[in-house]
């Protein structure tokens, strides 16, 4: 694998996955996948950290290149972190092998190298 990727998981209250994706896209992420989950936390921890854990959760899974990973995490933390209504918790895990990802990046790079692919030539 030429380029290193990381998987970002963000666990957030149901209904706030769009906020996560919006923040992540601004920081350079592409697409993601959202699925449902159920949250649980000990009562003492909720009281200690003054957080109410809403049981209905969404998990946003993103695959981003290593060089934008920190920016994406920071953007999610700022716009959808524990201080926001979404109460998102985000973390990243290293990806050792992948298929189906690098081709898209390569295609984008190729297009950038060949501007005529992006802007069609005008013919007289």
């Amino acid at each position: 694998m030429d380029k290193r990727y990381e998987a970002i998981f963000c666990i957030i209250n149901a209904g706030f996955s769009d906020a996560v994706m919006s923040a992540a896209r601004k920081a350079g992420a592409g697409g993601g996948t959202v699925f449902k989950g159920r949250g649980a936390a000990p009562r003492e921890a909720e009281e200690l950290f003054k957080i109410t854990v809403q049981p209905e959760k969404e998990i946003v899974m993103l695959v981003v290149s290593e060089d934008v990973k920190d920016d994406v995490l920071r953007a999610i933390y700022t716009e959808a972190g524990l201080g926001s209504a979404g109460q998102g918790i985000a973390f990243s895990l290293p990806i050792e092998r992948s298929v189906g990802l690098s081709d898209y990046s390569r295609e984008k790079e190729k297009k950038a190298e060949r501007p005529e692919d992006v802007q069609p030539r005008q013919e007289n």
Partner: protein, 135 residues
């Protein structure tokens, strides 16, 4: 059952023969069973399928062959030994099953406990008999 001494063991006796990886495979909804069965042939004994939705930009999704929004996410645990074969096979399947139909990536597991559990997850049949001896 052996009593826990509180001592953290280090050394070769606690090192698994092969690392385990969590394989995450995202495919179009409806192709989950096909890919789960396919991964099972590569010794993936534990698989969890979850239904989700994609948020990729239209151009990216189209390029990846994920035109529909609904997805099936398959979480599988596989042995690192099998990873190259799995990735190669998945890549060819992604290109042959109705065009380019998915993505897959592997995340390493850093630790686990239980010989029997390890044997099950890595499909190491030598660890199957005799029950779980110890961690």
């Amino acid at each position: 059952m052996a009593e826990y001494s509180g001592e953290i063991k280090t050394g070769a006796e606690n090192v698994a023969p092969s690392r385990l990886m969590m394989l995450v495979t995202v495919v179009q909804k409806g192709k989950g069973t096909f890919f789960a069965d396919f991964l099972q042939t590569f010794d993936a004994n534990l698989q969890v399928c979850v239904v989700g939705r994609g948020t990729a930009r239209a151009d990216a999704a189209e390029f990846l062959g994920l035109n529909e929004k609904n997805r099936t996410i398959i979480f599988s645990i596989v042995s690192e030994d099998r990873l190259d074969a799995i990735m190669d096979a998945l890549e060819s399947r992604f290109y042959t099953v109705n065009g380019k139909t998915g993505i897959s990536f592997a995340i390493p597991l850093t630790s686990m406990i239980g010989k029997l559990s390890y044997g099950f997850l890595s499909n190491d049949r030598r660890l199957a008999k005799g029950g779980e001896a110890n961690g």
